[in-house]
Symmetry: C2
Subunit: 354 residues, 2 copies
């Protein structure tokens, strides 16, 4: 594929790849040999370069560290058995990245920088993509404010980067989830829909409290009444009632418009499920559980893909689910994996070949 | 004053001070010759050092840039006519800093590092404190997460720093404020009370929209009904009804527990005002304005100190205030300035001598 941008490449002298066991990598710990970098100065993107992964210099007054203009995306690249490399729906991540940017008063990143830059970087790092099941190359595009001044205002300068990290399964065992009714993640008019750094830091303390109760993550509820489910830690959440699947809708702007969520909705529809995007109250969840009508609960996200939930803790109640009997979540996981590993035709045009 | 901590000092070869016109400095643009730095590693604070102000190195995967564990404080140091230097209530900032840290799952910073470190740094930079009215040395303690790993979890390592910037008046003219009813800053159970970086980035877009309407800042309202006033941009807000002054209360955890707010409450009480900390609805504000009973509106914050408001834009209404006739706000500003410049006795024990 011909790149629109002619990005200069400074190559490493020798690759670190041989030092990394790709079949057994922890999430986000090892980075590939090169990174993409670009600077936003005087209203335009400049200094676009692919160069060896290395530390950066920053002034102690750098705006991102003080006023939180910092956003990111998470995307995955896969390698099929024939050795072909693909990125999963990066165009959707670009759209969401620029929505995040607008909400945080940051400049738009053009498609040629985001998409062509990503393709060129990954083409260079193709050997870093693990070809194993549930493994992938995690792609982290991010942007942060770089002005060196303490006045509270949108920065005039920014840095956009893409770094890459080979990864295995993120949550490989079924999860225990605490339904959170005290702390809130987002409210209408806020920044819940944007993938800004602050949302994640703000979630860590409530998550820690849930861990101390024996759970892995929290299921956020709405800020007004703590009645409607929102999303789970780093994933969108799906509730299966037999042939009907319900997931919270996006119109309040409080949850992330997940790319895996979006893909799952398409696949569920194709599988013949009745899919509903709408507000879902815990009352309804509890009632269906009591009647035996709530058959599965699972999360969907880029890092975790499809993650089955075996326990929901809600007030004094514990809702147990036998994930061995789950049908929908495993079928979705297989469908997504088959597409990602080119085992079935990519009828949706989701895979972008490197 | 004997310091508890024995902090090694690496001095600059030559000072930048002569290159900076202290009587005419923009806010937060020039930094003094030295900075304080400390690292949190293996559960303890180490590598405490005062060294020349300079850029830092960070890994592109540094946690603060991706997941927003980043908090700060703003404090001011003043010099009186006799040349004595004082810091205004830094112990209160330390308390708030550690409340922010706890909410963002960051480690506590001990008093000796925060307070003694600050005193030693400022003692070294005493010549940088402008001795002019409305001028001061702005003190920025901050902490950010430094782990180089992309898994979403509280970082194991952090950096704490103090940097200093000489400053003049921040908002020197009366302000025009837009009462915001669409966007929200914070909600109960969130991070509104904590001084984390993300809160500021999230406020920039709504503030920009207000600017495009001709206003300087927004007055946030509660997330649930957009009925109760919260705070103004970077300040707490006070409404004066003759001899009664009302400011929003803190119990929801959605607004900042401002040190200037706290000081203003004490001074108002001493001046004989009836002070009320409670929810204040815009209905009540509008009604009092219509009756001519709302005499003043002003903001209070470290950067701006006391900032008079000449216009409140609310829905289709414009509430005008003749700041020339303001009595309370100027009296507070003078009282605070007199304390800060040692023109009156520091009866509250607010000034910490260097």
């Amino acid at each position: 594929m011909t790149a629109v941008l002619d990005i200069p490449v400074q190559r490493v002298q020798s690759s670190k790849l041989l030092q990394v066991a790709l079949e057994n990598v922890p999430f986000g710990k090892h980075f590939t040999d090169h990174m993409l970098e670009a600077d936003y100065v005087n209203g335009e993107w400049t200094n676009v370069v692919i160069r060896p992964y290395q530390p950066l210099n920053f002034d102690p007054s750098m705006a991102a560290l003080h006023y939180g203009q910092a956003i990111f995306e998470g995307i995955k690249a896969y390698k099929d058995e024939a050795g072909n490399a693909y990125i999963f729906r990066p165009d959707e991540n670009l759209k969401r990245f620029n929505l995040s940017a607008a909400r945080m008063m940051m400049p738009e990143v053009p498609a040629e920088l985001f998409l062509d830059g990503m393709r060129q970087l990954i083409a260079l790092e193709k050997d870093w993509i693990p070809a194993l099941p549930d493994h992938s190359l995690y792609i982290r595009p991010f942007m942060f404010a770089t002005d060196a001044i303490l006045g509270v205002k949108a920065s005039d300068t920014y840095k956009f980067m893409i770094i890459l990290s080979p990864t295995g399964p993120y949550f490989s065992v079924p999860m225990k989830i605490w339904v959170e009714e005290h702390f809130t993640r987002a409210v209408a008019g806020g920044v819940g829909f944007s993938k800004n750094a602050g949302n994640y830091g703000a979630s860590m303390y409530p998550t820690q409290l849930a861990r101390e109760k024996g759970y892995d993550q929290v299921l956020w509820t709405d800020a007004r009444e703590h009645r409607f489910v929102q999303e789970v830690g780093m994933m969108n959440v799906f509730f299966v009632f037999g042939q009907k699947v319900v997931t919270p809708s996006l119109e309040e702007g409080t949850i992330l418009d997940g790319i895996t969520r979006k893909s799952v909705l398409v696949l569920l529809d194709e599988m013949g499920y009745q899919v509903e995007e709408r507000p879902l109250a815990m009352d309804e969840v509890m009632e269906a559980y009591a009647k035996g009508e709530l058959t599965e609960v699972f999360g969907a996200g880029t890092a975790a893909t499809i993650s089955m939930i075996e326990l929901l803790g809600y007030k004094e109640e514990k809702l147990h689910f036998d994930t061995q009997k789950f049908v929908t979540a495993p079928a979705l996981k297989k469908a997504l994996n088959d597409i990602r590993q080119s085992k079935v035709a990519d009828t949706h045009g989701w895979m972008v070949k490197i």
